[in-house]
């Protein structure tokens, strides 16, 4: 068996179900085609990247809100992992390319990568500030 034990697997899976349902809820609530870009995926991924950055740095043993390893796995690998998605992003890129819309494909690619990395950096930076203020 690879990875964590069965109890941790179950815990992460519960988090993954919660995250996936939240992502689906965003897809139901956010209009799909405003401006021609797939905003639900964009919003869920940026939010999830922010949260994983904040939690990863802020919940260590000397963080501003320490959590045990199980709680960290539940939130980061479970909820954030289930909430964010890479396959939807690639699928949307494929649709743009199949439609010959190279301009949107490039804009969506740049916007996605930039927002994910900026969001995780922002979460990490805020957590570092809060850790120091503690």
């Amino acid at each position: 068996m690879f990875g964590p034990d069965l109890r941790i697997y179950s815990l992460i899976t519960v988090g993954g179900v919660i995250g996936s349902l939240l992502r689906w809820l965003v897809a139901v609530l956010v209009p799909l085609t405003a401006g021609g870009l797939p905003w639900p995926t964009f919003i869920a991924n940026a939010m999830g990247c922010f949260v994983i950055g904040l939690v990863s740095t802020g919940t260590t043993s000397n963080g501003f809100h320490p959590l045990g390893p199980r709680a960290r796995l539940f939130i980061m690998t479970g909820i954030c992992g289930g909430y964010t998605t890479f396959s939807a992003f690639s699928g949307e890129e494929l649709r743009f390319l199949l439609a010959g819309d190279l301009r949107r494909a490039v804009i969506y690619l740049a916007l996605s990568l930039a927002s994910w990395l900026a969001a995780v950096w922002l979460g990490d930076t805020i957590a570092r500030r809060l850790n120091m203020a503690r």
Binding site: F2, G3, P4, Y9, I12, T13, G15, G16, V17, G19, S20, L21, R23, W24, A27, V28, N45, G48, C49, V51, I52, G53, S56, M76, T77, G78, C80, G81, G82, Y83, T84, T85, F86, S87, A88, F89, S90, G91, E93, L94, R95, L97, L98, L109, L113, W116, L117, A119, V120, W121, D124
Partner: protein
């Protein structure tokens, strides 16, 4: 959407995530065990294989119409592939590489994830479409 549709959607997304989430943890742990974890090979393999399956699913949905494949999409794309692949771990690992002063690996990780992910979706699509028959 009726209330029944809503409940069915919740069940399908949850069911897909019940398979996709532990599979992500298993595959990424398995790969990291064999290739080490200096470079995030585990999540790279997870994301690229997830994109390959997504391309195949898009070809299937395109050939059969969304009215027929709505349940399959909720189960396979939203639940299973959505929870199997991840952007948050990808972003966190990239930041970790930058903080570890391995900027060249961070750039390689971002470029390879995006390029291989989109290419894999294309490969999955191209391989699946001929199998769908005339419509």
């Amino acid at each position: 959407m009726t209330f029944t549709d809503f409940l069915v959607a919740i069940a399908l997304v949850s069911l897909g995530a019940c398979v996709g989430t532990p599979l992500r943890v298993f595959v990424s742990s398995f790969i990291a065990h064999h290739l080490g974890d200096v470079f995030p090979w585990g999540i790279l393999v997870v994301n690229v294989t997830g994109c390959l399956m997504m391309g195949a699913l898009i070809a299937y949905v395109q050939a059969h119409g969304l009215a027929v494949t709505r349940e399959l999409w909720l189960l396979g794309a939203v639940g299973f592939l959505g929870s199997y692949t991840t952007a948050s771990s990808f972003a966190l690992q990239t930041l970790t590489l930058v903080h570890a002063r391995r900027a060249h690996l961070a750039v390689a990780y971002v470029v390879s994830s995006a390029a291989l992910g989109i290419a894999a979706a294309g490969v999955g699509y191209v391989l699946t479409l001929p199998m769908m028959g005339p419509h």
